[in-house]
Symmetry: C2
Subunit: 339 residues, 2 copies
């Protein structure tokens, strides 16, 4: 494999000049640059990242930490990040903690800090004070997507208010018996998502003087299958049923819809369902939801990182407030049937 010396030899210059010509750092005369580029091309030379990183202290490599890659929000954010990073010529090192504590630990202590990364993007990750301190001590830029982390640039939607609005939509339609489907405590280890959304839900009920019924506060780990099971069993209860359910994610709402179908419950006639996300399939399901552009959030995170690395300046910074969302009313919500 051709090295920098081979290129230097062929172009008739020093290795230092090759480095400058190819990297764009430092001044090189146009003629020299052309000869160097030509020589590099002919030899199929490509710089050694490791050597370059070691010498310069910059890796052109960004770490991305996600709880899982198989849920809509995460995979979509990841796609946004990956595309933008390729455009910028950066590598992406993926850390999928898989929700497992031990993986998380090794990600932090071993991998993230191994000095191979220029910066880190975390997605919906709850960091302990200790981890925040670790990150700070390494002195590398960090941008978080979803949720709030002290002293760290964050891109997130307004979980509290969007859920409040979704709930108010149902209340305005006349619903008074409303269930909530969120994540479990256990899932919450990754982030306080559920909490913020559930808080928003309870706030809306409270404002309308409606009672929060503990037996209608369900948890399903943000999976469609889990949601299906919970709603199926809820609907099979002989007792009074809710006339509407607020789901903390579209994927859970899909499960709720399928559960209603299999229970012979008409949506929206007998049950209204709202989601939260703007999943690609929400339109096919006719789901009323709050849509957020996950891909763009990933792109913004990369731009923010590049800005922090001094590669570019942000024109307008979406991290100054909440990331914009859009309320989409479709066909899964309607006034409750008159008893």
């Amino acid at each position: 494999m051709a090295g920098i010396k081979d290129v230097a030899l062929r172009a008739g210059v020093s290795a230092a000049t090759v480095s400058r010509a190819l990297s764009g750092n430092g001044k090189v005369s146009p003629g020299t640059r052309a000869r160097v580029q030509q020589a590099a091309e002919e030899l199929g030379y490509v710089v050694s990242f490791n050597a370059s990183s070691l010498a310069s202290g910059r890796s052109r490599n960004i770490g991305v930490v996600v709880p899982t890659v198989s849920r809509w929000f995460f995979s979509t954010v990841l796609e946004g990040i990956a595309g933008e990073l390729i455009n910028a010529g950066y590598d992406l090192t993926l850390y999928d903690t898989g929700g497992q504590e031990q993986h998380r630990a090794s990600v932090f202590s071993d991998l993230l800090l191994r000095k191979r990364l220029d910066a880190v993007i975390t997605v919906t990750l709850k960091l302990s004070d200790d981890e925040v301190r670790q990150l700070a001590s390494v002195d590398k830029p960090v941008v978080a997507i979803g949720g709030f982390i002290p002293d760290i640039a964050t891109i997130r939607v307004d979980d509290f208010n969007t859920t409040t609005l979704l709930t108010e939509h149902l209340i305005e339609l006349g619903h008074t018996r409303i269930a909530f489907l969120g994540g479990s405590e256990e899932f919450d280890v990754d982030f306080k998502l559920t909490t913020a959304r559930q808080d928003g839900f309870e706030y809306a009920l409270d404002q309308a003087n409606l009672e929060v019924r503990p037996e209608w506060l369900l948890a399903a780990n943000f999976t469609t299958e889990g949601a299906y099971r919970k709603i199926r069993s809820l609907l099979s209860m002989p007792r009074e049923r809710p006339t509407a359910v607020v789901c903390a994610s579209d994927e859970m709402a899909f499960g709720a819809l399928m559960a209603a179908r299999d229970s012979g419950i008409d949506v929206p006639g007998e049950l209204s369902v709202v989601g939260m996300d703007g999943h690609d399939l929400s339109e096919l399901f006719g789901l009323t939801t709050f849509s957020q552009d996950a891909r763009s959030q990933g792109i913004w995170a990369v731009r923010k990182i590049l800005e922090l690395l001094g590669e570019r300046a942000l024109e307008r910074d979406p991290t100054d407030g909440f990331y914009p969302t859009e309320f989409v009313v479709r066909s899964t919500t309607a006034p409750p049937a008159r008893p």
Copy 2:
């Protein structure tokens, strides 16, 4: 940040000994090792990947190339890979080509060959002869998941035969008017998936002396939305309709099912639907399908790579044949209604 010299100083040994004690390469007395580990721990020392890689020629970093991260098969395979790689202490560099030609090109010429990777796993990627040659010339292990690449270790299911069996299942039920839903030519740039599955479909029809009707050969890029649109318009045609449809992926089958629902067509009464994959949601949809364990395929790819890197030996090599699949009959298939 503590370096190897700091650790050496604290432990009262040379840097060489620290390196040997921590890496496990070469002999070190137990006492020395303990002192070194203690010192490293106290200083929070973690080896510099870049320096280590440069000196040793090994990166402990595997490149993974996927066409997209937002489809079930890819994200599930990726999760398998990511988990197994973390267990092995390797980093994962993700290349999402996003189906865009220019990204693919830069992945190959710039990134993959940048000497920072020990090996590469490609997922459902069609490589040109030229690209295969490039990979071979770099002399790094490559394992491919899905599809066949000459001279490269491959993990894949038997696309032809599984689709044949799926189709025969419908024929045995009595169906004679069967449509096929695959990917478009354009999507096929990534791999010959569709082709193999469509070939299997046509072979089964042929064996049963049934006619392949060109107007019932549909393409939808493997997305649920695309499949929905195609099947919706197929079902709205005034002319004779098929009584069954073979979908080249479960995600497309979901779209077909939703299209049938919205068209007022009963499944399986008026239309039977089969998928291919064993998507997490196939059970909820009651879909008859061939299930493949995507996560395990990712895990196997990693094991194969580690074997090629000399890190471990495979007990039993699933790449010797096709990766096992399982035929799952559920409720979306039934005999056609008697006209």
